[in-house]
Symmetry: C2
DNA sequence: TATAATATGATAGTAATACTATTATATTTG
DNA sequence: CAAATATAATAGTATTACTATCATATTATA
């Protein structure tokens, strides 16, 4: 069903919002013990974990606190997620899956490689809109969690083992899609994967800097990360399009 | 003394190594309760914290384990550092101070802005050499800790308070120095601070990717991060120099 | 050289974290 | 209505991240 819908020429927010309400973002099943989408409690766990991590930060977040907040038991949460690290992997995978969906949806039908890449950069670097709501998941807050906490999901001693288990597949697929778009424009550009990963990681970082270290970035209300990275990428590859 | 030495035209590794052995990298005094450079135990704490964090990772690292390792008492370590977070701030500040020193030393006497920036990029992105040893601090391992753990020093809920206290001054100064060099080449380039911060953060990230996600980078034994970022930056600003 | 100051070590203790285990009680399903 | 399943309640463990106190060793100073 998803594949068919992707070919629809309609590309407005309302249509996409409806689609996002009918499809399910698929994340690696190993992130959870029991699918949180399968029950009311599961959804409440996800919903309120986002609210709570956003509020107090991932480090101070515990299953006990979450249990108290949602009037449920700590041990019940453990039946859904092994530990809070796995929950973070679930949330981040969901986010990248959600973003990938918009990425593919927005660029799939585009013929011109230049415009396609421009649109791809826009989807990845633009702020998450308030109206993007998908059921119990608040994407605006989740986006902020990604900016402030995503690195913690892979800056661990277990990263290689977890990578083998496929916990970062969606993110990697996104980077590869972007990398391929760069190659489509300039097959001789020697660093497409590095440029793609620089965009994904760098975009989060520039948003972090605007929040906490404004002197280290030129991004602000007037200059968007989209503008900065569009300039950066199109000047780096061997094809210019109008600014 | 430092200032005078910076004007010396000599720029070889041996001279710099000797200089680094006579000067002291100054880090924010608030990172420690008692200066670890002031005693034997303090130096052992720093030395072995680097070895241990490198080995087991910052998350699993505790003062108790470190105490056992160096045959000292947990409570004695607490007399030097409030907690392991402050120790990480100390180590990372020291690293950036050490890098800043090399940055200034290598570029200070250069007249041509293009060559100067090229050298700056090289200093920041090149792998830390084994022969760079500075007393009890193993810079090669410390560099690896920076790659794998630096983000954790600022991805916290306390980042704004700690930023006000000056814990990130050295890093910020480095970004600003680089940003100014970019401006010196192209005063009209609109994103010098963003480009500078992208280099600092992006370089660490590309090294991380080569270690753990090689498919997401083009950097490897043949292609260096220096090459990638030199290309990226000089194509982005309005002045090209020979590759 | 005695004494005071300082540094380090040993031991104990606390609150919180990150779970696991067991049993009880709802709720759903066949 | 019984059986299966989901959730709740309670308790317990090992570890972490400290703090406090007291003892002992080392160093500085009068």
């Amino acid at each position: 069903m998803i594949v068919i819908l992707l070919y629809l020429p309609l590309q407005n927010k309302i249509v996409m919002k409806h689609l996002l309400q009918t499809i399910k973002i698929e994340v690696n099943k190993k992130t959870y013990l029991k699918d949180p989408e399968s029950s009311d409690l599961g959804k409440r766990i996800v919903e309120h974990s986002i609210l709570m991590i956003h509020k107090i930060g991932f480090d101070a977040f515990t299953f006990r606190k979450l249990g108290n907040k949602i009037g449920s038991n700590e041990s019940s949460i453990y039946r859904y997620f092994e530990n809070k690290h796995k929950l973070l992997l679930y949330l981040t995978s969901w986010y990248w899956g959600w973003l990938e969906y918009q990425f593919v949806f927005a660029t799939n039908s585009m013929a011109d490689p230049g415009n396609k890449l421009r649109k791809a950069i826009e989807v990845i670097t633009k702020p998450v809109a308030i109206d993007a709501s998908f059921s119990h998941i608040n994407e605006v807050l989740l986006n902020d969690i990604i900016i402030n906490e995503y690195s913690k999901s892979y800056l661990t001693k277990e990263v290689d083992a977890e990578n083998k288990e496929g916990y970062f597949e969606i993110y990697k697929r996104l980077v590869m899609r972007l990398s391929e778009m760069i190659e489509d424009i300039d097959a001789d550009y020697p660093y497409p994967a590095s440029l793609a990963s620089t965009l994904l990681e760098g975009s989060l970082h520039q948003y972090f800097l605007t929040q906490h270290f404004p002197s280290l970035t030129n991004c602000n209300k007037k200059i968007s990360p989209t503008e900065y990275f569009t300039h950066l990428i199109f000047n780096s590859i061997n094809k210019k399009i109008d600014a």
